[in-house]
Symmetry: C2
Subunit: 119 residues, 2 copies
């Protein structure tokens, strides 16, 4: 993990939706890529913002009062404590940044809760 | 700064090389875009890693023992304390992430030291 990270190559190593693969670290944060399709689960992170950069495709970040529509090359940072639910009609690829140990589903839990896995 | 960030649009708002524009925040970090061309200055950051994601073009991160060649869609994280000097033969566009208050030239200083500016 001490060399450059080709994001498209890393995405090709992923086989399941909503299961991020850790591709590197930046200070106390993990850098992860994820394939998404369909709807995730409503959740929030009380102790951290949530960083999304769309690499390919389109992603909707549903907030309780509006939807944020993201295309490739667009970032949205969900402020800490704000409930959100990502969804994508077609498959999209996303770069995530979050503090090490952050649970992807926050306190919501459920089947989509993923372990931290390096790829 | 509470809405989505279109990185290509933000880059169009930049007019000087090596002068990053802050496009958002993630926890204690700034998210910034920068246009680069030519050679920067050798420097290091003793207290933080240095995150580079190439958005367009090609970027070389010179380390003392090797060069890391990055194309669009590739990330390199320079570990804290490691001397490096970015350079680009043709103009390239880069996303930077660093703790708020990080000086772009580290302790090296000089003419390329840039203020933190939101765009």
């Amino acid at each position: 993990m001490d060399d450059k990270i080709n994001l498209a190559e890393k995405v090709r190593a992923l086989h399941e939706h909503w299961s991020p693969g850790i591709v590197g670290y930046f200070n106390d944060c993990t850098l992860a890529v994820v394939r998404v399709q369909g709807e995730f689960v409503w959740h929030k992170h009380d102790d951290t913002d949530d960083f999304f950069l769309v690499l390919d495709g389109n992603l909707t970040i549903q907030l309780r009062d509006r939807d944020v529509e993201l295309a490739a090359g667009e970032i949205f940072v969900v402020p800490r404590g704000v409930e959100h639910c990502p969804k994508a009609k077609e498959e999209a690829h996303v770069l995530l940044i979050e503090p090490r140990g952050t649970v992807n589903t926050g306190a919501a839990g459920g089947d989509l809760t993923a372990a931290e896995v390096e790829i």
